[in-house]
């Protein structure tokens, strides 16, 4: 019987079925972060339970770490207890921690693939909704809550209901300065914030095939913003080349054996999906959100929509978004004055994201009155960016260049905007108050964010580069 890629990974990892009908799915790599891990450590201690596979479990400090150069445990006072608790909990339970000063510290979803910890066809879990980022290398990842995290620590499995399968066919050649972020925002706009609820989404098609691995990760990262249970891309030669030689990737004969297995990780020709969607990406322009959920998206040349053009079931959401964002229907997005730019987060903080941004910024200055910051997704990304001189490009232009972490994505480390500020952000959620009380977030690609920092207005990067903005 022909199977999808998802079916192959699920079936391999199926340990058994529990008495309540749930499938027990083995988790090959489990990564904790400090915001939630303390709940699990407290449970283990109270119930006198042990971690079943500390050798397959990892931990990072990412949500609460300060980004200020020279940071330590105390730089963000509201994070101190979390960092210390993580250090103590991982020590007691024998878990490898990528601590605040580790050369591989960073955002879990950036670090795990970067060190080669997650592999094609592997299962992965993180107590964070953006876990599926690593679907970009063909891994099947699940975000989970604190109780499920504890469950995985004790048993190394998740008790899940088998999700449905969706294929998103993305075809067409992307225009200059259009990237995975724009594709993902368009897809979320088409399907809605709950459009993929209950599904594992396989991203396929020529657009995806042409994407570098980092962009595939951006695409899979945003899967949760349309409600998806997980999202992934079938691994190909590009994936294998990207993984080769990374510290946790098998070597020599083990590599050869793994590679021949990984080549079977494709959806069979006649395999059936529960739902198929398609987006023609050939004509796509840079996309940006205008509202307060990630489906409220227009092209950069577009305007804040007229309620008449909005589905009536979405009117009340649009009304409150207009008010919160301080926007009137019909207002063009392009040219809207901004106060802040954030380039970073598990969505868009990998080296190519910074390269694209730096290419826009090089030789230019951040507009007067705009606070602009770049926060690399990992200490490794930061190191590589610095080796390439990108930090100088950003700093010379007037950007803050920070230490790695989640930073202003959810503001868990104190990096936040001021009330009323309008911010172009490469992150994943434009929810009210997320980047600070009353901060108005517009989600966009690194290129759009960089261009907007330079002009001080929401900007079509293509026009800036051609001298027309």
């Amino acid at each position: 019987m022909p199977r999808t890629l998802f079916d192959k990974i699920w079936d391999f990892h199926l340990v058994g079925q529990r008495s309540d009908g749930r499938d027990l799915i083995y988790i090959d790599r489990h990564v904790l972060h400090e915001l939630h891990a303390h709940h699990a450590f407290a449970h283990l201690e109270k119930e006198r339970r042990a971690v079943h596979r500390p050798d397959l479990t990892f931990a990072v400090q990412d949500h609460t770490v300060a980004t200020k150069p020279g940071r330590d445990d105390e730089t963000n006072p509201s994070g101190t207890a979390f960092l210390k608790s993580m250090r103590e909990g991982t020590r007691q339970n024998g878990i490898r921690l990528f601590d605040i000063d580790d050369p591989e510290q960073g955002i879990s979803h950036v670090v795990a693939p970067e060190v080669g910890m997650v592999l094609p066809g592997a299962t992965h879990a993180v107590p964070d909704s953006h876990a599926s980022t690593v679907g970009g290398v063909g891994a099947l990842a699940f975000g989970c809550g604190a109780s499920e995290m504890t469950h995985i620590l004790v048993t190394q499995v998740m008790a899940l209901k088998r999700p449905k399968r969706m294929r998103a066919r993305l075809d067409g050649r992307l225009s200059e300065q259009v990237s995975a972020k724009d594709v993902a925002l368009r897809l979320i706009a088409e399907l809605g914030v709950a459009g993929a609820r209950g599904y594992v989404v396989e991203y396929a098609g020529t657009t995806v095939g042409a994407m570098p691995i980092e962009q595939r990760m951006t695409l899979c990262n945003l899967n949760i913003e349309m409600g998806g249970r997980s999202g992934l891309v079938a691994p190909d030669d590009k994936t294998f080349a990207w993984l080769y030689g990374r510290p946790y990737v098998p070597k020599d004969a083990a590599w050869d054996r793994a590679l021949s297995y990984w080549r079977t990780l494709v959806t069979d020709v006649d395999a059936e999906f529960d739902r198929e969607v398609a987006v023609d990406c050939g004509a796509l322009e840079p996309q940006i959100t205008w509202g307060t959920d990630p489906s409220q998206v227009v092209g950069i040349s577009g305007r804040v929509p007229d309620p008449a053009a909005i589905d009536p079931s979405r009117w009340s959401a649009a009304e409150s978004a207009f008010a919160y964002m301080g926007l009137q229907p019909g207002t063009p997005l392009n040219g809207l004055p901004i106060d802040r730019v954030f380039i970073g987060s598990c969505t868009n903080s990998r080296l190519p994201d910074l390269e694209v941004s730096a290419a826009v910024v090089r030789g230019r200055r951040v507009a007067e009155g705009v606070a602009a910051m770049v926060v690399p997704g990992s200490t490794r990304v930061k190191r590589e960016a610095e080796a390439a001189g990108l930090d100088r490009v950003f700093r010379d232009a007037g950007f803050f260049w920070g230490e790695s972490g989640c930073s202003m994505c959810a503001g868990g480390n104190g990096d936040r905007g001021e009330p009323g500020e309008r911010c172009v952000s490469t992150t994943n959620r434009n929810f009210e108050n997320r980047q600070g009380p009353k901060v108005r977030t517009h989600l966009a690609s690194p290129a759009t964010a960089a261009a907007s920092a330079i002009t001080g207005r929401i900007t079509d990067v293509r026009k800036l580069l051609s001298g027309a903005a």
Binding site: H151, Q156, Y248, P250, R257, S316, A410, G412, E432
Partner: protein, 208 residues
């Protein structure tokens, strides 16, 4: 986990779609390992700009102060996996959420904590919401998981259905980890098979 059999409480209508975890349980500026989950629930929506209570927010209205059932729209609990968005409900004695649909992770988090995520299909959901608005907190509803019925003022009983597996787990208050621990032999067997079939999955070592 505290078992769930039935719950008698006032039902409060919060009839919006896509209420997200940042709204339910915002990440606040100052935090500690021991959070005040009771104060966290809808922290921003409950307050006006000067920090005082907003009397217009539904859970601040006198008749809904002790509401123990929340009635809402589609895709409730979208966003983060933060379980605080469930704990903050329980800290306020809200043990039932009636919605048209739930975000996947939020629903799982509810089941882990004995909070009943109850889905009504659109025609019944709308009729029930209208009824809850009409009753306006004057009398409580009873949500009974044994008979799978909601009864209360203003109309006939409403039948609902919770998947048998989830239902028995809630009714018995079963420890999820305990359920899985019965399968440790199978897990060990899987590990042996995986170590032979895809050995790279069963070791994770930095080769440097």
């Amino acid at each position: 986990m505290q078992p769930f059999t039935s719950h008698i409480a006032v039902a409060a209508p919060l009839l919006k779609d896509d209420i997200n975890t940042d709204q339910i349980a915002p990440i606040l500026h100052s935090r500690s390992l021991k959070e005040d989950y009771r104060a966290m629930l809808f922290h921003r929506a409950r307050r006006r700009e000067d920090g005082s209570e907003d009397p217009n927010f539904i859970l601040n209205k006198p008749q809904f102060r002790n509401a123990g059932i929340l009635v809402t729209g589609n895709n409730f609990g979208a966003g983060s996996s933060r379980e605080a968005a469930v704990w903050s409900m329980l800290a306020n004695n809200i043990r039932v959420i009636v919605a048209k649909s739930f975000a996947d992770i939020y629903r799982e988090n509810c089941l882990q904590n004995g909070l009943l995520p109850l889905v009504l299909e659109p025609p019944e959901a709308e009729a029930f919401a209208a009824r809850v608005i009409g009753v306006d907190g004057a009398a409580p509803f009873t949500v009974d998981l044994v008979s799978q019925r909601i009864s209360g003022p203003g109309g006939a009983d409403v039948a609902f259905e919770v998947a048998a597996a989830d239902r028995s787990r809630l009714l018995e208050g079963l420890d999820d980890i305990g359920l899985t621990l019965k399968h440790m032999d199978e897990i060990a067997g899987w590990e042996r098979r995986a170590a032979a079939a895809q050995p790279w999955l069963q070791t994770a070592k930095d080769s440097r």
